[in-house]
């Protein structure tokens, strides 16, 4: 009895060993943690097969209503049958980097989406992979070695409750006493990117240069004195409770925020202010060298940089039995998913030239003739220093 059991175990072990041998012999040709472009990864069919075999993708700090990421994740899972784990969707860029550095192997994210300074400071954490549409990414926002590249950017918009008597169109409008106790900001501008850009926008509207945001701080200070600016945190719940009626937000959060507010019974509208168009530096996509699902990580990146106009998660049927490249060609690409979410994807200009861009949602148009300004990384650092010293004082304590 005992002997038989032992032989059985040996047989099973041998069978398992031979299986490992065959698969590894097959995969030995391609090391998915090293292959640096689609061809090296064996083409789309092979990449999809390898990714499906891994079966999982770790993403990190992607709020569902941020830049339409909810749709991107749903579509990816539905099309390829790969389960996505989204770690700490409310987290920050610092948290993403921290996780890449210190998390146990299985929890390292397969791809990160971080602010540009974080990518520049941590290039050694990322692996080289150039997406198929590499040439459509402007050179300013990509690493020559392919370790990081920009993905999308947004414009600072005014978001407001349509129940208020007067619809604001500009920063200047908000000074009106009609907006008493109504205007709020989405965080501490010395710590939150969206709030920082809102101060840049206010600064621009009041004639300030991006190198010095003093006029932006003065604007909020005056608004605080007049009682228009409430120092409430602009978020969904506080908005619902009537803590504020107008706030500043990335355009790419608009469609999501409008839908979420509607579910709670509030009508929200976005408008790009007529007196200041501030476009953020694009966020950066990168694959950590220690990504636990390297093939899925590369497929996810290819998907996000695809310019396809195809099916969304709602109208995509079963993809069973289809080859990887067929599925990939049938679905919407990430660039168009971002457009639908109100963001400006990095390949936008190339897409316009090729006419592959989807229609952007209405209401987020940049006013005709407006000058689009993007504060440089150095401008942002200077602004933060100034804000750190002056911002708390505007509340008078």
């Amino acid at each position: 009895m005992r002997k038989r059991l032992l032989t059985g175990v040996i047989a099973a072990t041998m069978a398992a060993a031979s299986m490992v041998a065959t698969t590894s012999a097959h995969a030995a040709t391609i090391d998915y943690s090293k292959c640096a472009n689609l061809t090296a990864c064996g083409g789309m069919d092979a990449l999809v097969k390898a990714a499906q075999k891994e079966g999982k993708l770790n993403v990190i700090t992607l709020p569902r209503d941020w830049a339409n990421y909810g749709e991107a994740m749903d579509l990816f899972t539905k099309a390829f049958g790969i389960k996505i784990t989204d770690d700490n969707p409310d987290g920050s860029s610092a948290y993403e980097i921290q996780t890449v550095k210190t998390a146990p192997a299985s929890k390292v994210p397969d791809a990160v989406d971080v602010g540009i300074t974080y990518a520049l400071d941590n290039t050694n954490l990322f692996t080289s992979y150039k997406v198929a549409n590499w040439n459509d990414i402007p050179a300013t926002y990509k690493d020559a070695a392919g370790r990081w590249y920009g993905d999308y950017a947004g414009v600072i918009a005014l978001s407001y409750d349509t129940s208020i008597a007067k619809a604001p169109k500009s920063f200047n409008d908000l000074k009106d006493p009609a907006f008493k106790n109504m205007v709020a900001i989405g965080g501490d501008p010395s710590g939150a990117q969206e709030a920082l850009m809102s101060v840049f926008a206010a600064n621009l509207a009041n004639g300030g240069a991006t190198s010095n945001v003093q006029k932006g701080i003065d604007y909020f200070s005056a608004m605080k004195t007049s009682g228009n600016f409430v120092t409430a945190l602009a978020n969904g719940q506080n908005f619902l409770a009537g803590a504020y009626k107008v706030s500043f937000s990335w355009s790419f959060n608009g469609p999501g925020a409008v839908a979420t507010a509607a579910k709670a019974g509030k009508t929200v509208k976005y408008v790009i202010p007529s007196d200041a168009v501030i476009k953020g530096t694009p966020y950066i996509m990168a694959i950590p060298f220690n990504a636990p699902h390297p093939a899925a990580a590369r497929l996810w990146t290819e998907f996000l940089y695809s310019e396809n106009k195809g099916k969304g998660s709602m109208d995509l049927g079963s993809t069973k039995g289809m080859t990887g490249s067929k599925i990939f060609a049938a679905i919407n690409g990430g660039q168009n998913i971002w457009i639908a979410g109100g963001a400006l994807p990095i390949e936008y200009d190339a897409m316009v030239a090729k006419k592959t861009n989807a229609t952007a949602p209405a209401g987020y148009e940049i006013p005709a003739g407006a000058k689009i300004v993007t504060p440089s990384v150095a401008d942002q650092d200077a602004a933060k220093l100034l804000l750190k010293a002056q911002w708390p004082a505007i509340a008078g304590n």
Binding site: G70, A264, G265
Partner: protein, 259 residues
């Protein structure tokens, strides 16, 4: 001299105050959670959404499990420690007191990052690592609750009596001291439990899915649902703790009667 009874004025005063400070805000939030779809009318829609949401039961179960373990570990560690401190180790008290207050002072973010750097990999691969950190961040409360309680009993006399009757240390602690400091133990246990079940920062920084981290994800698309979640967590935790309290009280009384 007849004493004036302050009973009713005191009760009236404290109830009014408690009403304004505690009941009204809770009511304010709860009112929103009972709004119907699209913010219209009143309904249980948000609560129904919550209990049917994907991941509700597994994450709740994980949290309950970790909170129970943290509560138990906490008492196992701290009851003997505090008894010894108050009995013989007076000179170590300031040191232990300081160590116990530290978790309150160190920003949780720093502690979590320190933990990621310092903890061995095998521990970081199991969700039970959270139990240890829940115990750590509960220390300030446990120490105070147990210490206050121990100071009000004649510890030395109790221990001497029990020991002279031939009881072992373990038996002395379980049969004599524990019943004597019950109010402190309940306080310590409740605080640890409530803290563990609601802990967010460390859990999220260490990448685990418990009820609080799950709710953040679940709440993203549903503002009214998010409010329902916080009301649910509040009321649920209170009901649960009350049930435990009533149950354990019964048990303790039984033990006392038997003994």
């Amino acid at each position: 001299m007849k004493r004036i009874s302050l009973k009713w004025p005191l009760i009236a005063l404290s109830s009014t105050f408690a009403f304004i400070l505690f009941v009204v805000p809770l009511y304010g939030a709860a009112a929103y959670s009972f709004k119907g779809n699209g913010g219209k009318g009143h309904s249980f829609a948000n609560y129904q959404w919550l209990i049917h949401a994907d991941g509700f039961y597994p994450s709740l179960f994980t949290s309950l499990k970790l909170a129970v373990l943290a509560g138990v570990l906490n008492l196992l560690l701290m009851v003997p420690t505090m008894v010894y401190l108050n009995l013989k180790g007076q000179k170590f008290k300031p040191l232990v007191d300081f160590l116990c207050i530290l978790p309150l002072i160190i920003p949780v973010v720093s502690l979590a990052i320190g933990a990621q750097v310092a903890m061995p990999e095998f521990l970081q691969n199991t969700e039970y690592e959270l139990v240890f950190f829940f115990v750590i961040i509960a220390l300030p409360y446990t120490y105070r609750a147990l210490d206050t309680s121990l100071q009000t009993v004649a510890l030395k006399t109790l221990v001497e009596a029990s020991r002279s009757l031939g009881a072992s240390w373990t038996r002395t602690i379980i049969r004599v001291i524990v019943p004597a400091i019950r109010s402190g133990i309940t306080g310590a246990l409740f605080l640890t439990f409530a803290l563990s079940i609601g802990e967010y920062t460390i859990t999220s920084l260490l990448h685990w899915e418990t009820f609080p981290t799950w709710t953040v994800v679940a709440a993203q698309q549903n503002i009214l649902g998010a409010i329902a979640i916080s009301v649910f967590s509040f009321v649920g935790a209170i009901v649960l703790l009350t049930a435990i309290a009533l149950f354990s009280k019964k048990r303790v009384q039984q033990v006392e009667v038997e003994a």
